[in-house]
């Protein structure tokens, strides 16, 4: 499984669904139980940064992984 470019800080996350709602690549799914986003399709993320920039709590960590170095 590919390393994810984005990672959610579940402590900061408030479950607003902005990232899940906006992701152009549909990389996220929603965990209804935890009320948190899940990076379900990490290998499809090309790192546009929309989720990172739109998150109201800046709860998304964006890191360039080795495969994309």
């Amino acid at each position: 499984m590919a390393t994810s470019i984005t990672r959610i800080d579940n402590e900061r996350c408030t479950g607003c669904q902005t990232c899940y709602d906006l992701c152009p690549q549909d990389v996220y799914t929603w965990d209804d139980e935890q009320d948190r986003p899940v990076v379900a399709y990490a290998e499809e993320c090309w790192g546009c940064g929309v989720c990172w920039a739109e998150c109201p709590k800046r709860a998304i960590e964006y890191t360039i992984p080795a495969a994309l170095w």
Partner: protein, 565 residues
């Protein structure tokens, strides 16, 4: 969640269906609704942040000079296409004419839509581009939020916006488009859309080559020209329905692999208010604008890799680049640091300048009313042959939509062929029933690899034929086995199918272009064939048979050629 196959189809009845909610699709939908038409927009992603301009845009091309006659401007435009594609005409000259003629009207329409066309000082700011300043104007914009703004305007106008809905196929009856089928990429619900006009605004062909495909004029650290969602959906569906495509041999086939490098675009860094980034060989020799033949030459001399840098930019211009970065893709401001990039001392490597990085001239053939060769089907933005980039995307959108009321009133009540609907649904959902099949991304990567290996930079008959053979074999063996475990993967399966078809057209087109011209290079035909000057590849399917024609694109109409500005 209910299984997709058990859900009731969503039936939509509308006047205009716009496929794609990007920077061309949104103004199209907006204007059509403003004209009193019922409009439905389907967008594979989410309209607020979809398409090329999803994270923003900072420069709009396509604005004519005020004191130059339109026919001359058309010649300038053709000259810029030639610079990449080599000598000759590749598109219908009446299209840039129409765009240029209507550009400033479109600007007013954009303002009315609520977009801010002005700069920080409340005035329009034209980018000083000394390479192009006698050819065309480039407008600087601060459009980090253009997509949310467009989405808001579109919703407010009463457009029925269906996000997370991907086009499956077009519906036709008696030789005209009567609607489309689509699928919700999250719920899997099937949609049957009746429409009197369909406008394809789904962007260019992309993702058909291996990645590491930099956009020619731009800088960077491994940039991808098109955002990941763009995969030529509308082109493939249009072709299947009977519309003609042009320039699939030399058109834009940006490589893009979803599992790939971070792109850190640098906006219009390379032409920033009169100066540009500098291209250099590894050992520091400055070179002029790069072309594929020049890159090849330098490579043979051992002077690659080629780099571009802005080391010479004064601080004021470095700051302009930062603003451009923020306007086009905010994350790159942050991500550059992770790569250790300092524009004062570092250079970006220009990845191998693959010659298939053309000027987005491939796409659906349109006339100056943006109508394709299939009645009732229109195309705007990068999806249309002869249109490229966001400025013409917006301009074509308003111009096309302005003419839609006439097209809609002429159209009779759409009657759907239920058999066609059922067949499209069955074909679209097939991957959901496959167990232990092939994942769509694996299939897509196989297609890209065939393209890169057997077409690639240096083409030849033997390689292309081998590529076609492999593609056919891949199709027969694995296309029926594409597997989707959920609606998201169903979307990828549909894309994989589209990419296979468009790649096949690309290879067939390349086979027939027995020459070298501009960035198109054939080792078995290293010379330019004068017989192919102005001769464009057109492809369509008639009665199930693929047709390839080589003919001249329409020249500027005599009445336009004579017209003073």
């Amino acid at each position: 969640m209910m299984a997709a196959q058990e859900m009731k189809d969503k039936l939509v009845d509308t006047d205009v269906l716009v496929v794609g909610g990007g920077i061309a699709g949104c103004p199209t939908a907006y204007k059509a609704a403003e004209k009193g038409l019922r409009v439905t927009l389907i967008e594979k992603s989410k309209t607020e942040r979809s398409g090329h301009a999803g994270a923003g845009i900072d420069t709009l091309l396509g604005w004519p000079l005020l004191d130059v006659p339109l026919p001359k401007q058309v010649k300038n435009w053709e000259g810029r296409v030639e610079w990449i594609n080599g000598k000759g005409r590749f598109c219908d000259a009446n299209i840039p004419y129409t765009i240029y003629k209507g550009a400033y009207w479109a600007l007013e329409e954009a303002e009315k839509m609520g977009l801010d066309m002005t700069w920080h000082n409340g005035q329009i700011h034209w980018n000083r581009n000394r390479f192009w300043e006698d050819q065309e104007r480039q407008m600087c914009v601060h459009w980090m939020d253009v997509k949310p703004q467009m989405a808001r305007a579109v919703h407010k106008k009463g457009v029925e916006v269906l996000d997370r809905v991907m086009l499956v196929d077009l519906l036709t009856n008696k030789g005209r488009v009567v609607g489309a089928t689509a699928v919700n990429t999250r719920t899997g619900q099937f949609l049957v859309i009746k429409a009197k006009a369909v406008v394809v605004a789904s962007g260019p062909l992309a993702r058909s080559y291996d990645p590491e495909q930099p956009l020619f004029y731009k800088y960077k650290m491994k940039y991808h020209g098109a955002p990941g969602a763009i995969a030529g959906d509308g082109l493939a569906a249009g072709y299947r329905a009977g519309a003609e495509l042009a320039n699939m041999d030399v058109g834009n086939c940006w490589g893009f692999r979803l599992r790939d490098e971070i792109t850190v675009p640098y906006g219009q860094m390379v032409h920033r208010d009169g100066i540009s980034g500098r291209w250099r060989t590894w050992d520091g020799m400055m070179i002029p604008f790069l072309t594929a033949p020049l890159y090849t030459k330098l490579e043979r001399m051992g002077r690659d890799p080629i780099y571009v840098d802005t080391i010479h930019f004064p601080e004021d211009y470095q700051a302009r680049c930062e603003v451009a970065l923020a306007d086009e893709r905010l994350v790159s401001l942050m991500a550059c640091a992770q790569r250790g990039f300092d524009p004062h001392t570092h250079r970006w490597e220009l990845m191998v300048n693959m010659p298939h990085n053309f000027t987005t001239i491939c796409g659906l053939v349109i006339d100056e009313t943006f109508q394709t060769t299939l009645k009732g089907l229109f195309a705007v933005g990068d999806a249309a042959s002869g249109l490229a980039s966001c400025g013409p995307g917006i301009q074509s959108a308003f111009l096309c939509a302005d003419g839609l009321p006439a097209a809609v009133s002429e159209a009779s009540e759409p009657v759907l062929d239920e058999g066609q609907v059922e067949s499209q649904k069955k074909s679209a959902f097939a991957p959901l029933a496959v167990k232990d099949g092939t994942e769509p991304m694996e299939f897509e990567c196989a297609v890209r690899w065939i393209n890169s290996r057997y077409v690639g930079e240096f083409k030849s008959e033997g390689k292309i034929r081998e590529g076609l053979k492999r593609l056919d074999s891949l199709k027969r063996r694995f296309l029926p086995e594409l597997m989707a475990t959920n609606p998201h993967y169903l979307m990828r399966c549909l894309e994989a199918r589209n990419l296979l078809e468009l790649t096949e057209l690309h290879l067939r087109g390349c086979l027939e272009r027995k020459e070298s011209r501009g960035n198109y290079m054939r080792t078995d035909y290293p010379e330019t064939d004068p017989a192919r000057d102005d001769m464009v590849t057109y492809q369509s399917v008639k009665s199930g048979q693929p047709i390839l024609e080589i003919r001249k694109p329409p020249a500027l109409k005599p009445e336009y050629a004579e017209e003073a500005n």
